[in-house]
């Protein structure tokens, strides 16, 4: 079902605490789905924010929330039985390629939109997930497929960046078995590094972008990134779009509509 008009009030059916920073809230609602699409989550009296759908079943879906600012900390404190408003789903999800020659690159909570994608892709995909430390690895037990880890401190897997492993794997592959698609979600700087690497090898990629949003359906303009409207043209963008988006990894709009450097935007978003 699509609930893209006035919010539909639903109760939290289940709550999973992954670690002190990550919580998944489940709702018993059948919702149209494609990995990468998002919903607007309303906490009456608090605010409304976009969240990607991180789990999806016929009668149940989940959103994973990272403790960041005022809204997410309120959302984290919700218990089963509490009510929230849902609008959506909105946006374009990932285009799924049926091939073992695909890579999924996740950074931090960028794992959330990629998780249901991984479950739909060929199990022989190349899958790498980076985080600050092993304690920040989201869904450590979720997947049957092989996952390579990178951490900033070396507490799990390779010490360094996801792009270290991706670059090595691209170089290892022959032309015949080269990646047909690389999917990425994580910090924008990471996604840009993945995009740049893929461009150098002529590999197409899809990345999921984040911007401050209001309407979620492409009219208010709060989330524009160059000439693209992130909520309706995205949030998943392909290489051919990214090439033209000069704001990618450079500029984002604050709540006032003021364009600022991405670093300033990120420090505001984490308040």
């Amino acid at each position: 079902m699509i609930f893209d008009q006035k919010p539909v009030m639903v109760q939290v059916a289940r709550k999973t605490l992954h670690n002190p920073c990550f919580v998944t809230l489940f709702f018993d609602l059948a919702i149209d789905f494609q990995p990468g699409r998002f919903i607007m989550v309303w906490l009456p009296g608090v605010d409304e924010k976009p969240y990607t759908i991180s789990y999806h079943g016929p009668e149940r879906f989940g959103i994973t929330i990272e403790a960041k600012g005022r809204f997410s900390n309120q959302a984290l404190s919700l218990s089963p039985g509490d009510w929230v408003g849902i609008r959506g789903p909105f946006g374009n999800g990932f285009d799924i390629i049926s091939s073992p020659d695909v890579a999924v690159v996740a950074g931090g909570c960028g794992m959330a939109p990629l998780a249901p994608l991984v479950e739909q892709l060929d199990p022989n995909l190349f899958f790498v997930h980076g985080a600050r430390t092993k304690d920040f690895i989201l869904y450590p037990q979720r997947f049957a497929v092989k996952r390579y880890f990178t951490t900033d401190d070396g507490s799990l897997g390779h010490r360094g960046f996801v792009t270290d492993l991706l670059a090595a794997e691209i170089q290892r592959r022959t032309e015949q078995a080269q990646f047909e698609m690389v999917y990425a979600c994580g910090p924008e700087m990471m996604m840009h590094a993945v995009f740049t690497l893929c461009e150098a090898y002529g590999i197409p990629c899809q990345v999921s972008m984040e911007r401050y949003m209001r309407c979620g359906f492409g009219v208010c303009g709060a989330c524009v990134c160059s000439d693209q409207v992130v909520c309706t043209d995205g949030p998943v963008f392909h290489s051919d779009q990214l090439r033209k988006m000069t704001d990618f990894n450079r500029t984002a709009l604050l709540k006032s509509g003021q364009p600022v450097a991405l670093s300033e935007y990120m420090s505001w978003r984490c308040q």
Binding site: D4, Q5, K6, P7, M9, M40, W42, P44, G45, D47, E48, K49, W83, G85, R87, R214, C215, G216, F217, G218, V219, C220, G221, A222, V224, S226, D227, Q228, V229, T232, D247, L253, L254, K255, S256, G257, Q258, P259
Partner: protein, 323 residues
């Protein structure tokens, strides 16, 4: 092509203020999608974040919104003005203020940035301190229009609210104060939507302006009233989603037709789509846009297949000034 206040437009369609117009890139894209005149999001005197979410909700029959006039502030937009300086499309700069002095301060600065025209938003219902007060009072509308007109070098458009008890009189006050055109209508209401499970208004600002198909009859009536009250051109908007809606707005008296919420229902390409539908309709009826402007004011009704019978003369007998 359409000519408006000396500006050549590729179509008679206008992007409503507050819709998408947050940077040069998206304004250019909307123009590329068939919009003749694109309008920037309203620019205010000081940086303002607008309201918390929910700010915009679709109701199916239209939308309710209280975004709350977010703006970086007129003197905090250097990069944007620079990007817009190289534009290849006509630009309408919407501005607002909390007082006549603020309107004038913003208008003077914005005029120097070289937009093709300036629209004064004296009609936004979504702030406690800005806008709409000027649009419901003839004297205030006259005063703010005159103050802005004095300090700008480009044509001035007054954007009006359907909340005015007699919108024709407000339009006439703006015309008398030097407005070059009228834009009508801004959102209707304000209205309110309460979620009965949450037991509270859905919008964070509680109330918000109504737009989209549900307000089209109000918009058509307002444009009709304004057409009879003034002799300056009118941008008619409010619920226009199709070519036939545009024809209706032209017949009420609009020279150009604006769209905003229609982007929700038919995408950014709505401008190309509506323009094609408009051309098809006019062709099928063997007439043209100039001929249908104000056609609904003709006492004999359906005579538009004879273009000369509907005068495009601004002093047409069907338009009269209110006292």
């Amino acid at each position: 092509m359409a000519e408006f206040l000396g500006i050549q437009l590729k179509t008679p369609l206008v992007l409503a203020s507050g819709i998408l117009g947050n940077n040069a890139g998206i304004l250019s894209r909307v123009h590329g999608a068939g919009c003749g005149l694109v309008t920037m999001k309203s620019i205010g005197p000081n940086r303002r974040d607008g309201h918390n979410n929910p700010t915009v909700i679709d109701l199916g029959c239209g939308m309710i919104n209280a975004v709350g006039l977010p703006t970086p502030g007129f003197d905090n937009m250097d990069a944007e003005w620079q990007a817009l300086a190289d534009r290849d499309f006509p630009l309408n700069a919407s501005i607002y203020g909390g007082s006549i002095a603020e309107f004038a301060e913003v208008a003077r600065f914005v005029s120097d940035q070289g937009p093709d025209c300036i629209e004064i938003n004296i009609s936004c219902p979504n702030s406690d301190h800005h806008g709409m007060l000027f649009g419901v009072d003839e004297k205030a509308a006259h005063a703010v229009t005159a103050a802005v007109k004095r300090v700008i070098d480009v044509p001035l458009i007054a954007k009006l609210t359907p909340a005015a008890p007699d919108i024709g009189r407000i339009a006439k006050a703006c015309e008398d104060a030097g407005a070059d055109a009228i834009c009508a209508i801004n959102t209707a209401g304000p209205g309110m939507v309460i979620d009965i499970e949450a037991k509270m208004p859905v919008l964070a600002f509680k109330k918000g302006g109504l737009s989209g198909p549900m307000i089209k009859p109000i918009a058509v009536r307002c444009v009709y009233d304004i057409f009879r009250a003034v002799s300056i051109p009118i941008i008619g908007l409010g619920g226009v989603t199709t070519g036939e809606d545009a024809v209706e707005m032209f017949m009420a008296g609009a020279t150009l037709v604006g769209m905003g919420s229609a982007v929700r229902y038919r995408g950014i390409q709505v401008f190309d789509k509506v323009n094609r539908e408009l051309v098809d309709w006019l062709g099928a009826h063997e007439t043209n846009r100039e001929a249908v402007i104000g056609a609904a004011h003709h006492p004999a009704g359906r005579t538009f297949n004879d273009p000369v019978s509907i005068s495009n003369d601004r002093s047409s007998q069907y338009r009269k000034s209110t006292p």
